[in-house]
């Protein structure tokens, strides 16, 4: 449990750092919320006196010291009040809407792809070391590691347009974009989500294949494997039952590092592929200096990452008894 407690502390620390940065980003542009709000009111033909401005500042607590304002903002954030989007003149919560869940869906699909690909390929590469397939996967893996995923998205977009005449952007077919949620819409989402999932997952898959291959190679050379083989166990039954299970442990622990990487990458890939996730919204908000919207999105992404990482830690504790009993590896 000591291990889990430590991970929990790190999660809280991460949230604290992200929240301070998010708050700083909201505060950085000159002028405060009331200046911006007055601008909005005046653009609608409303005149605002200085007394009313002062009263509003008092009401929103803008005359308090910075740290008080920070804690008030953080409290509001966790109770679901994200402030007002200046550009859309609507609460941030409404502007974000479904996009947060679609971001989660894309990231989750990508993690699923990474696991489903890296596990069998890693095992194959280790068991058939130096075979043609091993070399081929190593080469693809290196490319996947080196090509930044937004460039990969551009290249995929170009080739699919050039040779198949289709636009791979978006997460829905046109007829479902504004449709209410239904079974057919979910199916349509599943038909589109695999392209961004693969683009986002390539780098992580490449890294995990290398780790899985190296771990399993170490394990395969141990005497117990030879002994089990000598007693006549079938090759694959033996490999899957013992060495793979041992090699899986470090595999699970790296998921914690891959998740922030995927979420982070999804922002920019979403912009290229114009996915209806929080990515393009964040970029627009930053360019328009719509700071409550931008700060909220950054904070949400941070929270999402922390939760995802915690889940992978729990899985790790369940999988690896050494952590359960001693608190460290």
């Amino acid at each position: 449990m000591g291990y889990f407690l430590r991970r929990l502390l790190i999660a809280i620390g991460t949230l604290a750092v992200v929240s301070v940065v998010a708050f700083a980003i909201i505060q950085l542009p000159p002028g405060d919320f009331v200046d911006a709000y007055v601008g909005v009111l005046e653009s609608m033909g409303d005149m605002v006196t200085e007394d009313r401005e002062l009263a509003m500042r008092q009401q929103y607590g803008l005359l308090e010291p910075m740290y008080v304002q920070y804690f008030a903002w953080a409290r509001d954030f966790f109770s679901g009040d994200f402030g007002l989007s200046m550009e859309y003149k609507r609460p941030v919560r409404e502007v974000i809407g479904d996009r947060l869940w679609l971001t989660v869906a894309v990231a989750a699909a990508s993690v699923a792809f990474v696991w489903l690909m890296a596990l069998p390929v890693g095992i194959y590469s280790a068991v058939r070391q130096y075979s043609f397939g091993d070399y081929a996967f190593t080469f693809i893996g290196f490319l996947g590691l080196a090509v930044p995923n937004f460039l990969l998205a551009l290249v995929v977009m170009y080739f699919s347009f050039r040779y198949f005449g289709t636009n791979v952007g978006g997460l829905f077919s046109p007829e479902y974009v504004d449709a209410p949620w239904s079974f057919a819409k979910v199916r349509d989402l599943l038909a589109h989500i695999w392209i961004p999932a693969i683009i986002l997952g390539t780098g992580g898959t490449a890294a995990l294949i290398r780790i899985m291959r190296a771990n399993l190679l170490d394990e395969l050379r141990k005497p117990y494997v030879v002994a089990a083989k000598a007693r006549g166990l079938s090759e694959w039954g033996l490999i899957l039952k013992y060495p793979v299970r041992v090699a899986l442990n470090p595999f699970a622990s790296t998921i914690g590092y891959i998740f922030p990487y995927i979420v982070s990458g999804s922002i920019i890939v979403s912009v290229v592929l114009s996915l209806p996730t929080v990515g393009p919204l964040l970029l627009r908000a930053l360019l328009a200096q719509d700071m409550y919207l931008a700060g909220t999105i950054i904070m949400m992404i941070g929270t999402m990452t922390v939760i995802g990482t915690l889940i992978s830690d729990v899985i790790l504790v369940l999988v690896d008894p050494r952590i359960r009993f001693t608190g460290h590896r």
Partner: protein
């Protein structure tokens, strides 16, 4: 330690094994690292490619055919120009003049070659004036054409929306993008060595705190934070200020891996006999660290730094690509790729994506070089 075939070949007189082994035993660590590195063909090739990149950056104005900001609406979105290598008289590389017209149906500009206007390509031709290394004034360029101004008639990789020469911009972008990697890694290196060194040398509570901070930084999704911070840089800052601000931003998250490597080496060396000996003979702490410990892991630091550079290049490219990083008139790979953001440009003017090629090549080369250096860094291990 076994004798490697390469070392035998290099000593023609050394036909007896004894001589070779002796040579191996008296070799300095530096020589051993070099011999070991040389065996990684891919890493050596990558190193040569990267030297090429930095040479291209240094001699960018000499290699370029046009100034990077020279725009002309009449030449908007010209496709790359084919070079004709032969004519009636044999080998004689030349290009033809082009005339732009508007397609009456699609309203797109189309360019047709004019066979009457023939421009021969010459080496060391005169063109726009520049200062090499910001010092030596010159107007000589590697290639140029006869019969017209080079920067008005030669567009090897086509032009962008504003009619600027993509080939020349690519060279000037190399200066910016490749140097951001180097400057950024120096900042990261300073932070990493200082904090990793403190962490590994003192251990205990300080170590725990620094390790937790590193773990927190590593679990933060960096791109949204970079985007937020980059977007809040003041609009009125100059190109140079933005350049340094972006470099600092990029390296804030890049030092953790370097700190981890440095700490690991410190922990491993702290108990070594030669460190104890230095301490016992009265060497001061800084002398123990910098005279005795640092030289024995400097090669590891170089390897880790090499692996950190590509991440900085990608980060700058990503930020500029989104329009949050460097701003025009600065030109980097990311700034150039900004025009290739949507499906229309990608489909109709694919040559604007050409800046993706040097990014991918440089990142791959840095990764291979770093891997090779890391394997060679410890010449005494097997």
């Amino acid at each position: 330690m076994t004798v490697r075939p390469e070392t035998v070949e290099e000593l023609p007189a050394a036909t007896e094994m004894g001589v070779v082994e002796e040579r191996f035993e008296v070799a300095t660590p530096r020589q051993l690292i070099w011999w070991r590195f040389r065996r990684h063909r891919l890493a050596v090739a990558s190193g040569i490619i990267l030297i090429g990149f930095y040479l291209a950056a240094m001699f960018a104005p000499f290699l370029a055919t046009s100034e990077p900001t020279k725009a002309e609406a009449q030449r908007s979105l010209m496709p790359p120009m084919p070079i004709h290598w032969f004519d009636d008289s044999g080998f004689n590389p030349h290009v033809f003049g082009t005339a732009g017209k508007r397609d009456p149906k699609t309203f797109k500009r189309v360019y047709v070659e004019d066979p009457n206007k023939k421009y021969e390509i010459h080496f060391f031709a005169r063109g726009f004036a520049y200062k090499l290394f910001w010092l030596i004034p010159s107007n000589i360029h590697l290639i140029g054409i006869e019969g017209a101004r080079t920067d008005e008639a030669l567009f090897l990789l086509g032009t962008d929306v504003q009619g600027r020469d993509v080939y020349s911009r690519l060279l000037f972008a190399t200066q910016v993008s490749m140097s951001i990697g180097l400057v950024g890694v120096m900042i990261s290196l300073t932070l990493g060595v200082v904090l990793g060194g403190i962490s590994g040398f003192f251990g205990g509570f300080v170590d725990t705190v620094i390790q937790r901070v590193i773990e927190i930084l590593r679990s933060i999704p960096t791109i949204p934070l970079w985007m937020g911070l980059a977007a809040s840089l003041p609009r009125e800052w100059s190109v140079l200020q933005i350049y340094f601000a972006i470099t600092v931003l990029v390296s804030i998250f890049g030092w953790t891996e370097l700190a981890r490597v440095v700490r690991g080496r410190f922990l491993a060396l702290r108990e070594e006999d030669f460190v104890t000996a230095a301490r016992l003979s009265g060497a001061s702490r800084p002398r123990t660290i910098f005279r005795h410990m640092v030289p024995s892991f400097s090669s590891h630091i170089i390897a880790a730094s090499t692996l950190a550079i590509p991440e900085m290049i990608i980060a700058e490219t990503a930020l500029s690509f989104l329009g949050l990083g460097l701003r025009p008139p600065a030109v980097s790979y990311g700034v150039m790729l900004q025009s290739a953001q949507n499906i229309q440009t990608v489909a109709t003017t694919p040559w604007l994506m050409v800046a993706a090629v040097p990014v991918i090549v440089a990142v791959l080369a840095f990764n291979f070089l770093g891997d090779g250096l890391r394997d060679a860094a410890d010449p005494y291990s097997q």
